[in-house]
Symmetry: C2
Subunit: 139 residues, 2 copies
């Protein structure tokens, strides 16, 4: 078990944004939301190239801030997200991708059944600051 | 009219994350979602203090990356967001605040009626890369 991903200890990585910026990437945060259920799937990052590729190809494309390359979500896992619409916030410094999952999965972590979780937000902060599984999402 | 906020020209600020990181802030992105409607309201940032204040006070508290201070959403505008739950993503580098708007508004921009918009994502990218109003959200 990957303790950070499956465990119930809150260990937030507050250094992530600084690490992203340190790569020199010119990116905005992107919220990926299921266009039908309204479920928030995950947060990614997009630069101009990723946004352009998303619009051109009709799928969610992001910029991988760990690999520093274009990331067609699902290219490896198969969990492609069809793009329905891209929305922009008031200050034009973030994006909302409304998507339609093609396999039901969106997270790289898996349910005990082996199926990819449909959202990355399967744990909530409970009393005493520990995490607790969200019923129906964690397992 | 503020062209960036109300206009229909796409002018994304890809320098925002680098600017946030340059302040030295140790923050994670936070998606604010209406717990009842599922609508994504906006993306903010939280450091450890903001998260702690949110949980302690039961309202959405963020870290203002422009003012470098704790930001109790609604302290000035009145558009406080009651906190329902905080969820954490797989890699523990972003948060999802499930909230309940107390006034109906969440964006600092306003409808022609003078009421604060309920979400900051009131424009979508249309054909030719121009923005178009989302019906029912822009006005």
């Amino acid at each position: 078990m990957n303790e950070l991903e499956e465990g119930l200890k809150l260990e937030l990585d507050f250094g992530k944004l600084a690490a992203v910026a340190a790569t020199g990437a010119q990116v905005v945060p992107v919220v990926l939301q299921d266009a039908d259920s309204g479920e928030v799937l995950f947060v990614g990052y997009a630069n101009e190239r990723a946004l352009r590729a998303s619009l051109d190809e009709g799928i969610a494309v992001l910029w991988s801030t760990s690999r520093n390359e274009l990331w067609r979500k699902g290219a490896t896992s198969g969990d492609t997200l069809a793009l329905v619409e891209v929305r922009v916030n008031c200050e034009q410094n973030s994006l909302l991708y409304l998507v339609r999952p093609t396999t039901g999965g969106a997270c790289h972590t898996k349910l005990p059944s082996g199926q990819a979780r449909r959202t990355c937000y399967y744990r909530a902060i409970g009393d005493e600051g520990a995490l607790r599984p969200v019923p129906g999402l964690y397992e």
